[in-house]
């Protein structure tokens, strides 16, 4: 097997707070090939956003990556110096945040910010940087890019701002983009436009993408593979077809059944009982155990990842459908 573009091994990011150690990410493994789109799915507090930030070394104190490796093109980014990380951020790995106003400086014109982003990594003339920015804006479907370069962020709508953020992420044709809920705040028709552009760009440029979201519907439409997170760990991973069509972890199945769907109109949804546990006070063993209808005595021990392949695995002693297959643990 060829070396993947990104390999995350046993990543642990903990927040050392006065109330105790919050294990926001506690042993996450991921792998991503070139040009691949991975959906990182989870509910609030599952650690999905912190995972994305940890890859780029963007976790603020009191948070700290306390274990594991992030191998990007064979190079371990955990423990890499700030100088090295700065060279990679934006150029090799770009990030798109949920709120583009957080990315954009409100007092600088879009053009100034984009030129700055180009010149941060490459020694090019201002004119050339301007031209590249213009092309990047045109590529994400922004009409009359010349005028837009002279505008300020507040003159853009939410959807347009997010397009600008994507254009900036694309400036250096990065190998990997980490997008953290970039369409969550947008309307359906605008979200569809952004998804359309992103899908097209990833196909054209061969950029790999990690799409962090709580929205299974978006992931099922966009991604190649999915990793489902719960309480700081990946509990199941597989292709979209495997995760949606044949979930093995009870939490994944619960999530899917919680989403209203066409053929079950008016029927009570099969919701997951209880609520997401506090990461300060996780139950021993499988964190999903208290909410799970399949839990047994075995679940007090943390299940290992099991499955057919490295990229088709689940963390459960009593996976869904095990009875029929006769491979129960």
């Amino acid at each position: 097997m060829t070396e993947p573009l990104l390999r995350v091994d046993g990543l642990k990011t903990h927040f050392l707070t006065r109330a105790g150690t919050v294990k926001a990410v506690d042993g996450v493994d991921l792998r991503l090939d070139r040009g691949e789109i991975l959906g990182l799915v989870g509910e609030s507090g599952s650690g999905k956003s912190v995972t994305g930030q940890s890859i780029l070394g963007l976790v603020d104190p009191p948070g700290r990556v306390v274990g594991g490796r992030v191998l990007f093109r064979g190079e371990d980014l955990v423990g890499a110096g700030e100088k090295r990380l700065r060279a990679i951020r934006g150029r090799r790995i770009a990030m798109i945040f949920q709120d583009p106003m957080m990315t954009l400086n409100p007092v600088l014109s879009i053009g100034t910010q984009m030129v700055e982003a180009v010149q941060a990594h490459e020694t090019v003339s201002r004119a050339e940087a301007w031209e590249r920015s213009r092309r990047a804006l045109a590529r994400v479907g922004i009409a009359s890019p010349d005028e837009r370069l002279a505008s300020y962020p507040h003159q853009f709508s939410g959807g347009m701002r997010q397009r600008v953020a994507i254009a900036i992420a694309l400036l250096h044709s990065p190998d990997l983009i980490i997008a953290d809920e970039p369409t969550t705040a947008l309307d359906v028709t605008i979200q569809a436009q952004i998804l359309f552009e992103v899908q097209k760009l990833c196909r054209e440029t061969g950029t790999a993408l990690i799409w962090v979201t709580h929205d299974l519907a978006v992931v099922s439409a966009l991604a190649d593979r999915v990793a489902v997170m719960y309480a700081g760990r990946v509990v199941e991973t597989g292709t979209v077809a495997e995760i949606i069509g044949n979930p093995r972890h009870p939490y994944t199945r619960g999530l899917l059944e919680s989403v209203p769907s066409r053929n079950r109109r008016g029927v009570p949804l099969r919701s997951i009982p209880g609520m997401t546990p506090s990461v300060l006070d996780l139950p021993e063993g499988c964190a999903f155990r208290p909410r799970c209808d399949r839990s047994t005595g075995a679940c007090t021990a943390m299940p290992e990842l099991m499955g057919d392949r490295e990229d088709r695995a689940w963390r459960c002693w009593n996976p869904v459908g095990a009875e029929a297959r006769g491979d129960a643990a």
């Binding site: 028709t189 109109r265 009570p268 919701s271 997401t276």
Partner: protein
Amino acid sequence: MTTAPIIELNGLTKRFSRKLDVVERFARRLGAAIDDRAVQAVSGVDLSIAEGEVVGLVGESGCGKSTLGRMVAGILPPSAGTLRWRGRDLRELSPADRHHANLKIQMVFQDPMASLNPRLRVADIVGEAPVVHGLVPRREAEAYVAATLRQVGLDPAYLRRYPHQFSGGQRQRIGIARALAVKPDVLVCDESVAALDVSIQAQIINLFMRLRAELSLTYLFISHDLGVVEHISDRTAIMYLGRIVELAPTPELFDKPNHPYAKALLDEAPRVSVEKRRFAPIRGEIPSPLDPPSGCAFHPRCPHAMPRCSAERPALREIAPRRWSACHLNETTGP
């Protein structure tokens, strides 16, 4: 439909106008042509809701769905149009009757943290209104609140707690309990499940459906989430820029939307499915309600736009029994 609708809206309109600031007033005195800027958030909406019915109201941000909901709930006064409660115009009711009618329509908000007073205990949040309105004597208030909490699936042991001690889903249950405490007939739910995680959202949707059956409630269910609306409502209205563009029984609307905007919206809503798909988005953005397009507000983005669409606004017409749509295409190719 033989029964009189519980709520009937006729030409309901809401205009928000912004007063000129000092500089602008000064400029106008010097002869500059500046007028008060008015936003027509809701324009002439007709809608009737039958007793026990769940009407879903869908639209994107700025379409006026929340403003409409607030007018129905009596929080905002309409600028024009009438709101009838059980067949009677609210403005013609005696103050006591109007008071009673207002109490019978309650609202559940999106963000329970913003709509619950952080300095009140649950017992007071839920118990205040029924005591003030004389539905329950003060000494029985606690037992009454406990019963209401049980109804929404909360442990009455939480009576003495404050809102911050609850999770998002539990807080939403408190918001629902507060609305139910005054024994309403109608609940206006404004994005009431939007802020919740998927697994919690499902619990609250189930709660809404159970309450509907137990208390024979009527809902106006406002949401941007098409899946949720399809799941819960009997009829669905789709709004665009202050107007209802399509109104139909939910299964028919979702199976075969008529209005081009409804089609686009339904096509683009991501659904959980095994197949990967290509998005074919409609172009452009939602126009500003400060400066709405002429004619049909959707014409600049509509793939079927004709010259007539920019000149004349299509009326909401019944294109088939119980199906309403506001599009000129129904007249040219229509039945």
